[in-house]
């Protein structure tokens, strides 16, 4: 017959063992900043014509939610050919993260799409090509027509390969939006 003190001894012993087991596995943990997700806060459009550059920004430095984003209004001259370059940044970090470089590196799975409304507002053509000869849209040209107002939708379509098979086909259809913003445009 087990004595009472024997039982208490076993109880204390197993409690001790369990406590040790429990605390051994408890150490201070940390999640590295590098493990955290990417954030696009800023899209900058640079229109260059005749040596002078105008920049327009869509900026949401605190990411989704929080403060409402600030969006510059685009103002362009009629019947003018502009060189249009785009910059994609993460301004929540110091130093500022440059996502354009990453898009350039993986140009086979990215496509910028510029859609003016009404479509007569300006004409966009791609000025760069990926390895498969599809446009990328980091550099291109925008030619304005007659004076008017409207919108310019800028999309970055992310079209990663599926099981090693490329999905980018030069059209916006595959993939999903990483950027989808509208600028107000005045041509005058």
């Amino acid at each position: 017959m087990a004595t009472k003190s024997n039982q208490i001894y076993i109880a204390l012993l197993s409690l001790l063992i369990s406590t040790t087991l429990f605390t051994v596995s408890c150490k201070d943990e940390e999640v590295d900043a590098e493990e955290e997700n990417e954030l696009i806060t800023t899209v900058k459009l640079n229109f260059t014509s005749g040596g002078s550059t105008q920049s327009f920004k869509y900026s949401d430095p605190d990411g989704d939610g929080g403060k409402t984003p600030t969006i510059d209004a685009i103002s362009l001259k009629p019947n003018t050919a502009y060189t249009l370059t785009v910059e994609v940044l993460d301004e929540s970090k110091m130093p500022v993260g440059n996502i354009t470089d990453e898009v350039k590196k993986e140009s086979d799975e990215h496509l910028f799409v510029y859609t003016p409304t009404p479509s007569s507002l300006l004409t966009y053509s791609y000025g760069d090509k990926d390895t498969k000869n599809f446009g990328i849209g980091i550099t291109g040209s925008a030619k304005t027509n007659v004076a008017g107002t409207g919108k310019l939708k800028v999309q970055l379509r992310h079209q990663p390969p599926i099981n090693g098979k490329a999905t980018k086909d030069g059209t916006p259809t595959p993939g999903s939006d990483d950027i989808n913003i509208d600028f107000n445009v005045t041509v005058q």
């Binding site: 197993s14 940390e30 999640v31 990417e38 989704d64 929080g66 599926i162 098979k165 989808n180």
Partner: protein, 798 residues
């Protein structure tokens, strides 16, 4: 012979006295014995022992003794039952052949002496349904959620076909508590695309307790409790095991799981002075691998799964003492269908408009490869339990530690980007004292539970570094004390209990756009109660009525979400001012059992005050990725009412029909409209043919269209000019049409020798390759459900 799992031990003392032969019409046989509590060895007074075939029963006297006399020769099923204990039935033969010449005198009888050792069950005034043995074997290889669909009233919330969460009476996630081997599962259950981090092969018995169970299990047990229990460990010198192999044609999935268990004791020791003890152990492991699954029309890209799990358990038993240790690890990698990756609401609307996924998302070639996006989940559980018995009762202490690691990897640029990372560590303890009957009338238990957890998603716990996480860092402490008492009489039981809980939540976060860490605290406390009765007027009927309450404090995602929920294409905002929701659950169950007919009707009415849910505002939320419909966490008073009806009719010998109906109506009482995302009503019929060790069945499942959906935006302070998304009450598409699915199954058992058995079965689900979509599958917007799937199962026990 294989021991019946997880039921109480029956000590069958074979007929002690056969008093020779008798004439063919001899009806002087009798059966007698003692009914006693398996744990305490106390005789049970008032237990009913009956012979099923004759519907003849007696109840035990104060010494637990019973005797049924004047029985004719024959084969009988003897049932021992009392409220508060599990029922046990077994077969006994009261027949003889050879000695017919001997004349039986009046004092000689055919006699069987049977002592029944019954094991107490936790609750008998609430409805519970169990999967074990053959019904559990039939689900082997499936996820926990899929397996539980067998139980009426339980459905699933799915993200594709590999992620399934159990839904009880229309509620899921934080409202369904899962007790894994006696420890409450603490994973990332808040997320609708987070399946329970559990390997169902660990369990030999899965029980679903329907209805609020806040008193015994603490907060969150609003809709019900799912209990997974392994087999008891061996306590004699033995080595045995089981191997399960399953192959699913759809996705070419293989599942292999094995168990080896053994034990030894010193009962053979020569020295009498030695204290008897026994040791038992078990090693269990599962490996699962599947590739892209197919719908009737097309294959879905990136829908594979890989899972490696194992568990180790051991115990040490001596006279009044049991020490039990359990460790399990669950690791899974689940591919998420590529076509479900949604950039913003226009991507989603485009996907819905297309009807079926783009050609690139439905490849011709099959692969096992898991590409982005995918989920990478690990869950560890360590449990240590000690039980001490003495004259006055049983004291048990259960300690648990869980670590849950979840990585959700999206298809972002570069290889280093993760979308979300969660690390949740939980420590839990439970101390329970079960006292012996007071005044031979009142039995019950008193207990205290505590739980401490830490969630880490960014930086260190108290110093988060990023404001863009979905769930902030937090520390959570809850504790509760409870008392449950019951009075048990011959054929009725009354059970009552109450509980008091406190909860302290500390959140460390950087608000959007802020630079500094904000520390928010939430303190909640609550009383819960339960009152129930069970009445068993005779051997055929059993009635249960129960009123129970439970509560749940708002979780961190409900309080502080602020961002885009990818895949759901919604912008979700938490609400810091949410108060705990409290439920009052009224239920009534009638159960009828006779030789050729069994039926159970479960009626429920579940009021939830301050029910927390995500409701659309109809406004677009503007982000750099485009516009997302905005959803806010809000509260309303709600009512879930419905019934589950389950009936089995023995049509002719060997042939039976099982019919299950689940009906549910969930209403938002403040806004006077249905609640969103409630499972549709369903009716399932199975025709089953059993002959010896062979069984064949054919099943039809009919799922109605969910016509009860919200129609209006409930936020009255939002001007209608801002409402853009309101077409389907905030949903993106109307609920899918009703569907009817057929499945067929055949199984055969082989006895290799006395110890070894082999069970093989073939089940074909979605027999006619029907194309359908389910309202509670989040992928219903983009893709059809899984097509025909044949499962080959083999189970070898030794």
């Amino acid at each position: 012979m294989k021991r019946k799992v997880f039921q109480y031990i029956i000590l069958f003392l074979a007929p002690l006295l056969w008093a020779g032969g008798a004439s063919a019409q001899d009806c002087d046989c009798f059966i007698q014995g003692i009914v006693q509590d398996d744990a305490t060895k106390q005789p049970i007074f008032g237990a009913i022992v009956l012979i099923k075939e004759l519907n003849k029963g007696v109840s035990t006297d104060a010494k637990g003794f019973y005797r049924i006399s004047n029985i004719c020769q024959g084969k009988y099923t003897v049932i021992g039952r009392i409220v508060g204990y599990e029922e046990k039935s077994y077969t006994i033969s009261l027949e003889h052949g050879a000695e017919q010449n001997i004349k039986l005198s009046e004092t000689e009888h055919h006699l069987a002496n049977i002592d029944i050792k019954a094991q107490k069950i936790e609750n008998l005034t609430q409805t519970k349904n169990t999967l074990q043995n053959a019904t559990l074997d039939q689900t082997r290889g499936q996820s926990l959620g899929e397996a539980l669909k067998q139980i009426s009233g339980v459905t699933t919330l799915q993200s594709g076909s590999s992620i399934a969460k159990p839904v009880i009476h229309g509620m899921h996630s934080n409202r369904v508590l899962i007790m894994n081997n006696g420890v409450r599962q603490e994973g990332q259950q808040w997320g609708s695309e987070h399946a329970p981090e559990i390997d169902p092969f660990v369990a030999k018995k899965i029980t679903v307790l329907k209805g609020a169970s806040g008193v015994r299990f603490g907060s969150d047990a609003i809709a019900g409790v799912i209990m997974l229990e392994p087999d008891t460990l061996p306590d004699s010198t033995i080595l045995k095991g089981e191997i399960n192999s399953i192959y699913f044609t759809n996705g070419r999935q293989t599942v292999n799981s094995g168990i080896i268990e053994g034990g030894f004791n010193n009962s053979n020791a020569k020295k009498i002075t030695k204290i008897p003890y026994s040791i038992g152990y078990r090693v269990q492991g599962t490996y699962k691998r599947g590739g892209d699954i197919s719908t009737p029309q097309y294959r879905l890209a990136n829908t594979g799964i890989e899972e490696i799990n194992y568990s180790l358990s051991a115990n040490y038993k001596r006279k009044n003492w049991i020490s039990d240790m359990f460790f399990s690890q669950f690791n899974t990698k689940i591919a998420v269908f590529l076509g479900s990756h949604i950039g913003n609401v226009s991507d989603l609307i485009e996907a819905i408009r297309r009807g079926s996924p783009l050609a690139i998302y439905i490849p011709e070639t099959f692969t096992y490869d898991i590409g982005r996006p995918y989920q990478d989940v690990h869950h560890n559980l360590l449990k240590i339990k000690n039980v001490i018995k003495n004259r006055n009762g049983v004291l048990s202490l259960t300690l648990g530690r869980q670590y849950d690691y979840r990585k959700e990897i999206d298809i972002l640029r570069g290889d280093r980007n993760l979308i979300q990372l969660f690390k949740l560590t939980t420590y839990s303890s439970e101390l329970i004292y079960e006292h012996k009957p007071i005044l031979k009338l009142l039995t019950g238990s008193i207990g205290i539970n505590s739980l401490y957890q830490e969630n880490l998603t960014t930086g260190t716990i108290t110093e988060p570094r990023s404001s863009t996480v979905l769930i902030p860092n937090f520390k959570n402490f809850t504790s509760g004390v409870f008392l449950i008492e019951r009075i048990v009489r011959n054929n009725w039981e009354i059970e009552s209990g109450f509980r008091y809980d406190i909860r302290h939540l500390n959140v460390y976060r950087i608000p959007r756009g802020g630079q500094n860490v904000v520390n928010n605290t939430q303190n909640n406390q609550n009383f819960s109660g339960t009152l129930g009765a069970n009445y068993r007027p005779n051997a055929k009927w059993n009635f249960m009525a129960n009123a129970s309450s439970a509560w749940r404090a708002a979780t961190v995602n409900e309080l502080y979400s602020d961002g885009v929920h990818h895949g759901a294409a919604s912008f979700e905002r938490g609400n810091e001012n949410l108060v705990p929701e409290v439920t009052l659950n009224l239920s009534f169950t009638a159960n009828y059992v006779s030789k050729n007919f069994q039926a159970e009707l479960h009626l429920y009415n579940n009021y939830i005050n301050n029910f927390i849910f995500l409701s659309p505002t109809g406004r677009p939320a503007l982000t750099i990725r485009g516009a997302f419909p905005e959803f806010l966490y809000t509260q309303t008073d709600s009512r879930f009412q419905g019934f589950d009806l389950n009936g089995i009719v023995q049509i002719i010998k060997h042939l039976s029909l099982n019919s299950k109906i689940s009906y549910l109506k969930a209403q938002d009482l403040n806004n006077n409209q249905p609640l969103i995302q409630i499972p549709a009503n369903r009716w399932e019929n199975t025709l089953r043919y059993d002959w010896k060790k062979t069984s064949v069945s054919l099943t039809n499942l009919y799922v109605a269209k969910q016509n009860r959906i919200p129609k209006k935006i409930i936020f009255s302070d939002i001007p209608s000019s801002e409402i853009v998304f309101s077409e389907y009450g905030g949903d993106f598409a109307p609920p899918p049409a009703a569907y009817s699915l057929w499945s067929a199954s055949a199984s055969q058992q082989f006895a290799i020798n006395t110890k070894q058995t082999l069970n093989i079965s073939l089940t074909i689900s979605n027999l006619f390759n029907t194309t359908y979509r389910d309202y509670l599958n989040r992928f219903r917007y983009f893709a059809d459900e899984i097509g025909r799937n044949a499962a080959f199962r083999a189970k070898y026990s030794f």
